[in-house]
Symmetry: D3
Subunit: 333 residues, 6 copies
Amino acid sequence: MLNQSELSFLSKGEPVDHFLLVKKFEIRLTKNGKEFLSLELGDKSTSSAANLWEDASGFKSIKNSLAVGDVVKITGSMDEYQGNSQIKIDSIRLTKQSDDVTPKDFLPKSLRDLNVMKKEFTGRMEKISDTDLKSLMKILFSEERFEKYTSVPAGKMWHHGYISGLIEHTLEIIRICDLMCDIHPQINRDLLVCGAMLHDFGKIEELSFEPVFEYTDRGKLLGHIVIAAMIVNDEINKIPDFPENLKNNLLHLILSHQGKLEYASPVVPKTLEAITLYQADELSAKVNAYKNVITNEIKPGSSWTKFISLAGTDIHSHGITNKSDDSKKTLFD
Amino acid sequence: MLNQSELSFLSKGEPVDHFLLVKKFEIRLTKNGKEFLSLELGDKSTSSAANLWEDASGFKSIKNSLAVGDVVKITGSMDEYQGNSQIKIDSIRLTKQSDDVTPKDFLPKSLRDLNVMKKEFTGRMEKISDTDLKSLMKILFSEERFEKYTSVPAGKMWHHGYISGLIEHTLEIIRICDLMCDIHPQINRDLLVCGAMLHDFGKIEELSFEPVFEYTDRGKLLGHIVIAAMIVNDEINKIPDFPENLKNNLLHLILSHQGKLEYASPVVPKTLEAITLYQADELSAKVNAYKNVITNEIKPGSSWTKFISLAGTDIHSHGITNKSDDSKKTLFD
Amino acid sequence: MLNQSELSFLSKGEPVDHFLLVKKFEIRLTKNGKEFLSLELGDKSTSSAANLWEDASGFKSIKNSLAVGDVVKITGSMDEYQGNSQIKIDSIRLTKQSDDVTPKDFLPKSLRDLNVMKKEFTGRMEKISDTDLKSLMKILFSEERFEKYTSVPAGKMWHHGYISGLIEHTLEIIRICDLMCDIHPQINRDLLVCGAMLHDFGKIEELSFEPVFEYTDRGKLLGHIVIAAMIVNDEINKIPDFPENLKNNLLHLILSHQGKLEYASPVVPKTLEAITLYQADELSAKVNAYKNVITNEIKPGSSWTKFISLAGTDIHSHGITNKSDDSKKTLFD
Amino acid sequence: MLNQSELSFLSKGEPVDHFLLVKKFEIRLTKNGKEFLSLELGDKSTSSAANLWEDASGFKSIKNSLAVGDVVKITGSMDEYQGNSQIKIDSIRLTKQSDDVTPKDFLPKSLRDLNVMKKEFTGRMEKISDTDLKSLMKILFSEERFEKYTSVPAGKMWHHGYISGLIEHTLEIIRICDLMCDIHPQINRDLLVCGAMLHDFGKIEELSFEPVFEYTDRGKLLGHIVIAAMIVNDEINKIPDFPENLKNNLLHLILSHQGKLEYASPVVPKTLEAITLYQADELSAKVNAYKNVITNEIKPGSSWTKFISLAGTDIHSHGITNKSDDSKKTLFD
Amino acid sequence: MLNQSELSFLSKGEPVDHFLLVKKFEIRLTKNGKEFLSLELGDKSTSSAANLWEDASGFKSIKNSLAVGDVVKITGSMDEYQGNSQIKIDSIRLTKQSDDVTPKDFLPKSLRDLNVMKKEFTGRMEKISDTDLKSLMKILFSEERFEKYTSVPAGKMWHHGYISGLIEHTLEIIRICDLMCDIHPQINRDLLVCGAMLHDFGKIEELSFEPVFEYTDRGKLLGHIVIAAMIVNDEINKIPDFPENLKNNLLHLILSHQGKLEYASPVVPKTLEAITLYQADELSAKVNAYKNVITNEIKPGSSWTKFISLAGTDIHSHGITNKSDDSKKTLFD
Amino acid sequence: MLNQSELSFLSKGEPVDHFLLVKKFEIRLTKNGKEFLSLELGDKSTSSAANLWEDASGFKSIKNSLAVGDVVKITGSMDEYQGNSQIKIDSIRLTKQSDDVTPKDFLPKSLRDLNVMKKEFTGRMEKISDTDLKSLMKILFSEERFEKYTSVPAGKMWHHGYISGLIEHTLEIIRICDLMCDIHPQINRDLLVCGAMLHDFGKIEELSFEPVFEYTDRGKLLGHIVIAAMIVNDEINKIPDFPENLKNNLLHLILSHQGKLEYASPVVPKTLEAITLYQADELSAKVNAYKNVITNEIKPGSSWTKFISLAGTDIHSHGITNKSDDSKKTLFD
């Protein structure tokens, strides 16, 4: 269990006595031809450059065994080089069992409690009325897969790009979809909710995130949409008498959920549930993305982010006080 | 008050004794050089062609006074010409006061009860906490404007394209926005809800809908987005000490709500409220559009519409039974 | 076996004594309220309108049983209505067993001999060196599937849009791919040729073509690309120790073969084989399409087609004599 | 004749005793106000930075006469600065006659033997049957022009971007075109092959490549497509009775060979030969480009290139063993 | 010399005694199998359908000799069929020498006096100071070519699409260019004005307009831009010592004048003169197009045209009185 | 009043004794932990980096009070660092009243005399015939607003991006518009000229330019187009009986003047005046932009700029002598 101050809080000159994740790693030569390690070290708050010189304690033992994704224990102090923070390393060692830290401790993570989210998800699953769909969901979200599903981020960047981001995102979509079903009884609620649960399911194979977020070869060659379709197709084929029509429509929700061909969906939404899922996904994703950008990209003294290319604009934090309190919450109560 | 069977229910040969709206109207000549009227007549269910020959009762009195948008009383029978229904007219007359019918009776209308919607809207308005915004809303949605606002369709076609479509659409957006505020306390709820209420407000001047839906010259030259911004700007300027920051942000919500420059927004969404409003608008609009298209454009024996160019695809009604009943409704209750 | 003159050769006034395919079919009413059938009848050369009146021989027996895709035997004569040919029907009957005709006889068909093409295909399959791939191909192109695969058109229109069009198209691509492998030994020949064989394999489930070319529900909801990927994935999973890397790369060829996201490939070509397959597919398709358009769309006395929207231009037949004879054939022999 | 190890093989510390091409060149000042030369030097394997200080042997004699494109003889050693290789220069001199080196020796070059390619090209030219076209080709590919044509690269980057790249590329296209003519006898083989030979002919004036690849003013203002059309037009006008139709169609092949207006073709392909040439060009170019990128842009230990913007993706080298040997070569032999 | 009322002024029932141009022509059969001619006849004001029955005077003599582009003398009367005007023909004959009419009399024509325009053009040519350019212009605009140049329309539709439209359009551009030269002395006035004169010069070979506007094969295969470049290149090559730089820049103006690759310019504007010419061309063309559309496409009682796809909008005639009189004309006098 | 040599003329080693504008400003730490100021200083000719060390005269007094937009008096000398100019500062102080310099003295400025431009503008205003429009213009261009209007640049970059750039640009457009009115009497001259005057009027609130060009929050949230429309709407509403039609058309000119939705106009040009204004704006803007780029971005010894992304090309200065003198000026005099 990690118990140390966040790296981003350390000022120039303060001592460093921290476990940190190795994010980049390269062996280089000084002008005199001596080897040194050029590192990037970080925790979930930030990253910092660091050079490990051959006279640092631990240099020899670590030089040939270190890899990106390792956690190291550092002592030293915060320094600065050309305006950027840099860690001056006095000693370094790899973690050992007894340190009780894992690379995951150093990755950004959903702010929502994971157990609460799991319970919310399984609770919603229980309320599915269609027995074919319910059986399928239980198989798909079985132990090992469910662990992975509830850990994976929704992406490498932009929205919900942190540990357990996918389940947080999916739960938002389900709430939006349920609201749309309240408004439009023509929507098949079970089908839509299952589509929402599965829409990014393929990310469990598309993304690896230990030690760092990365796309797998399989992920890059097939994409999460087709991966999900193939897994779901496999599992349905094992269920006797699963209705063909239902199968095609569920697969259609997965395949079309990015809404447009140019967003990598091989088919566009062609059913009422498919258009609902696509638009609910967009709503959840874009609002989360703007919220994160406002939090992370506005510098003190400013109310604007830099230009955010995925949004096509710089984004503004207006600072107008939110006067509506909880008693004013309303879905037209 | 209109009390007659719907035109779409009449089969070939059945008698017609109906009030109908004149949707098109042209004086033409027969091969023998005699005048006749080529008409399109309809109610909210459908429209039908009809030729009025000079020997029909009422021809003379009506020929020079008739105009598109008039309601006429017809007797005759349903006929067919080249596969399309056509009304054979025996007699025709203009409506009179005592008939108690108005052109509005012949336009498609929201299926929701208007009074319920009005109450829902004003009730939501009451729950606004920010006093500047609440005052402004009350002025903007004053008697006469409110009447118009609650009558106007959201558009000529595609989504919510019927009487009181705008308020139905707006109420959906508000519910979606309130849900997003529950999920993200960083969103300024009052600001967002007011933006939702005002986003299509300019349509009260952009569209005329009596007797038929039509864009006004002002609407075509300025567009509903700028019309709304100018009205809101005018009213804010009359309120002493309305905060400049709040004003700019509220106007930004109106201006950016179509999300992209190519969709006629002069600025793209730059705040958390603006992106939420845009995506909530999209969600409400697209789901309504698909629902309507499925209802109106699928012929008996088929499960597909024709190609719908605004959706870029044909749309499918899968017919899978909705097994989720009301007891399964959930926003993670 | 069908033995009759082609419909397109019949002039006005000539007798008709033909088997023809029913392509459209609707029951309509005359002005006097009598039923008649409005038909479109055709063979592989062309189609023609025809009205079947109640006094025609066979009207009663056929009226309620007829369906699109049936073959009927007609006697009558060629007529004309408003400049278009029309068949005047004297008598009509459904085909019977002994007529020995099938709807397929009335669909356009590849000009190449099917058995030659089958032999070419299986011969090429035999020359695959990689044993994993060769086994897989033999399973995929097993009896029933191979029958379907060698019958299906490559599409509803534009290129190779006729019976056995897919195999004709695939054989062209294989020849182009083999040439590219000769030029570039870096290309993995077995992988590429298998990708070529499978690239449009999903069309066996996407298209039905009996009695007329039509997309299936499954085809429209999933698309032939994902259908193929799912079938291939299924069969590979049954082969023990099929290499994961090979599997992912073969699936990548299927998924990326349309080259761009906006052409409905969920991933773009990311390997040397993938880019080769995409460009070879384009070359075969576009040249075939232009050839067909020039054959079918140029009217006598003109050297230009109408504007062809898929090509973005009208297309020209220059009529310059081809002076190169077979002795001049060269691949730099 | 150049006989020295490739620059890319030299490690830090190794002596340099090489002829190298000057690729960039700037006179700068040290902090103390002394002049030095900031250089980029290279051979066909790679380029490296080098600073020439005023105490180096040869500094004075070379300072004012040096120019980009010169070849210099260097002695010194390989060094490194901020992670990039840098040459430490001890002495420098310009080449002299007796060194027997030319700038061309330092540019990347086709891996195919130039004489073989020339013979292949002229051999193919001999097989043209149409006498008008054959005469024209012989004039166009006369001595001096043919020298230039067989030296020029096909472009500054992306595909076939090396000395004699254009002829290598053209020969590939011709082979593809000949194959397409075998498949489709409707294609005019002579016309198509001449179009292939001429399609990038304008590059002999668009690009200068001695001492380094560069676009000429004329090339930038007119483009190689129009340059080629003007030269061919000029030469045709000198041939009596060259058929007008043939002339227009040959020029059309040159003008339309980039396939789309946005790719700088002033007309799109409108004939069977034109579409064949465009797609054959694409096939040759894209496959060559991917092959080069895989060779040059994948770092040891990785199987992916960086993101390649012209391809819109990163590109993968799967490393699957090519099991097909020469005995399996097939064009359906 | 043509002296008759315009066809568009004739009402139903009025006698027709007119020379008219044959715009379409087809031999058809009546239901009884008798031949008749289906015609489209017109003058520069409008066109009208007409059927020529075999009992009309002149039918036999004309049936086999008539062709599109002929002028015929008609007697008969204006009629109407399904709401469209139709000419009822009593007698028909081909024109003869003594009628003194030519097909050109029936094509729309510039409203400006041709001789005034010719004088304006040659006058401007005289003021060119650069002697190389002036010589070239005089050669290019020599007798025969100048006749053609001053007759040709600027296009088949949209802007200046009438006889002598090209010179009218060119004179407008020259005036705009001269103004820009007054504002920016950095622009080379002679070069720009010559570019303006030549920018659409290729239309003399791209378009044929007798008897009706049509693109030539050469025009469709090469496009007017390249045609002009080739003619100008030819003529320059005959002038000794014409400066290479000037030649390339003049050709660049022709090639780049459509401003963007997707508008069929093979190069984009790269010089100050080129950007000026492109924008001046746009200004002249778009204003002319809107003016024509307002004149031709607004029906009585309306102030809006239909949707004009080339403009992407319907266009409005506001009817606001122009209060500025000639005394208020100003270029900041 | 500023009287000093331009910064861009100073060579390495020359003394600096200049007032300069502070364009960037950051407090940093040396490796030894001492504070220094990292500055960017400039005048209208160029900008240069400068480090202010703690031993410089004035360091202490200035460190905490300095801000971007201040003018400082510097003594020191021109230096160079890594090839870029850098100012070595000996002493620094803030300006005082008696120095008689303002930040505006350090911003680029129109080369035209401001008073001449003002007179030209007001003179043109006087010639407006329509009394409603003339009154409105006089109110809108009243004292304070006119001052701002005649100071503001037309943009931050690309065209007319300097003090008084907007009025210079507007005057060019007016001249072009007046010429178009001479050619086409159908254009309403008063309406068009007023539209030209107002088209970028909103920039007076969109841009702040003291001390440096910057977009305001209001400008970014609403855009100059809507800001202008709201101001003009406000002022018109105060004028009794201003014609509704005229108001809508004037507002339409402002709203549509960027010509396309994707260029941020909420409506496209729908009137003859609107299309004229858009194209005149384009002509003035693009020519000015090319002229500036040629002036500023071509290095000695070259005739090409770097790639200019807003133009989509590199731009050429051909250097052909302008032989046309003033006596040859012509608008067809």
